[in-house]
Subunit: 365 residues, 2 copies
Amino acid sequence: MPQTPRTLDDLDTPVPLVDVDRMHDNLRRAAEYCRAHGLAWRPHAKTHKSPALAAEQVRAGAVGVTVATVREAEVMAQVVDDLLLAYPPFGRAKLDRLMALPPHVRLTVAMDSAEALRGLAEAARAAGRRVGVLVEVDAGMGRVGVQSAADAVALARAAADAEGIEYRGVMFYPGHVRDNVDRQDDGIRTVSARIGGVLRALDEAGVPAGVVSGGSTPTFWRSHEIAGITEVRPGTNIFNDRTTAEIGACGWDENAYSVLATVVSVSVPGQAVVDAGSKALAKEEIRADTVGYGALLDRPEVVVKSVSEEHGLLDLSGTDWRPRVGERVRIVPNHVCVSVNLHERLYGVRGDEVAQVWDVAARGR
Amino acid sequence: MPQTPRTLDDLDTPVPLVDVDRMHDNLRRAAEYCRAHGLAWRPHAKTHKSPALAAEQVRAGAVGVTVATVREAEVMAQVVDDLLLAYPPFGRAKLDRLMALPPHVRLTVAMDSAEALRGLAEAARAAGRRVGVLVEVDAGMGRVGVQSAADAVALARAAADAEGIEYRGVMFYPGHVRDNVDRQDDGIRTVSARIGGVLRALDEAGVPAGVVSGGSTPTFWRSHEIAGITEVRPGTNIFNDRTTAEIGACGWDENAYSVLATVVSVSVPGQAVVDAGSKALAKEEIRADTVGYGALLDRPEVVVKSVSEEHGLLDLSGTDWRPRVGERVRIVPNHVCVSVNLHERLYGVRGDEVAQVWDVAARGR
């Protein structure tokens, strides 16, 4: 690939593309929503893993970014001075690396156990740092998070009492809510009631939550309906993806990310095979009742019906389009975060022109 | 992580481990099987993407390796002088890079279209190289490959006639065969009949196949039942994985690969959460009727029931074991090839000792 590709023709496939204008539109809309509702916008950098894109988010109005790994924290600290590690760090190696972040970085860590708090507090004291803590509350997803208001109070008190630690509030993740698919689900209201109960208990116990950090891409536009919320952490909606469009949380033409691929075989009738498989798109089932692992950006009726590592099979049964071998297509994957993670660089494009190149610098550990 | 980790305690999680002795046993068994049946053993390097492990395979008796991408070809050419690219290269960039492989490398490329042949032949002539070609035949999987004996003959003739090209035979992939799961499927016999018909047609047309390259890990131990086969290309069975064990193509204690992970949350009853999710294990459904995305190496009854990007949820419903936060576990993923591809290095271990470190050098493009 040339050092400075100028057009799509200079790029070898499979390669991830970002429509720069759509991305900026996505960022602007998110920022406007947060401003309108008085919410701090702390987008999750796991989606792009690119410091240059984190910097764009801050320029667009983000208060800082969220990260999931120590590596992401290290890379994002190059450009952002306010980080939320939404994951408990365990073990000397991770704690040492966190404490070695530049001193001007305001670090907050979310957790749901006394063990995680103890380790972080010890490391902070040894390093002479003060680290913020959010108590992670299970909002109903059943993945992580304290299970009751009483447990939230206990951990909040321990954080408030711990030397080296500054208790800052609570975090939750409403990633299980499917209200966009089925409005009768009423998931947002259930989350709101649950978090509201925890917030009241924290108030009564004298450890009120200054920060109430929630939000996800699927529920993004309804974040303001959750009582007490102060901050949102959407990741995906910088780019969007097929799942986000399928559940109605974005329009198809708000998809900024696609993988450029080449048709390599049309031998089997009714399908075309491209050189983007599970090592370029990833292989995640879509959340809604929808088949396949991606769809063509410009022909969403053409679905990637199956993938192996380097093969993606386009289902041609719903189209008259018959691609020839060598033709190129752009594929929107089901889940953008895991697709980005498979690539070393993202290519920002306007039409057929390559406008920017971003390193996916926070991949790996 | 220390420059030279000596024990598992020196490794930060999540991190991929290879049991060195089990891996060597797996290689030895594969080599013995091939010797016993007079088959050339050309393992697929996509599984490990590590030149050092390709060199181990050659030392164990492999005639060369198979690769799926140009990047894999470039990296493996550092240590192996006989490469099969089991994927048609399209576009100037890929062809230029292939032609720039060291001149001593004996290169063979598999394909199923006249377009792919034409591009390769032009590039070979321009570079003054001679490149081998295998005609890819669909053995019933319906992914790629010519669909009839007549099409195989036509492409073989075109290859035999093309300047710069040496027609070498046929390739097929029996990856759809499930005989290990259901012996009544009779998939191997169907494949054998199909390939046999193609071979007879090629003989009659005066373009006999010198190489008949088949084989996969699921069907590996029955490769010799396929009439005319001369070569096998298993990838997974250097390490094996949960799928390979579930379908009966290896024993559980032949799993050489696992991801070391740390328990980060036990807040939700009945489960434990580890720091290995879809960005460490990958998220592929298992092929058999089995739930989850992995299982513990030392407690196979404990399954990773779901994953998100950095979270894996261990289902504790079938065990009395109750891990504490901070405890470490080793997870065998469903599909090893896509898990390896998520990591930069593999750590070869004997017990708790780190014996070797291998770069996953052929990741990326």
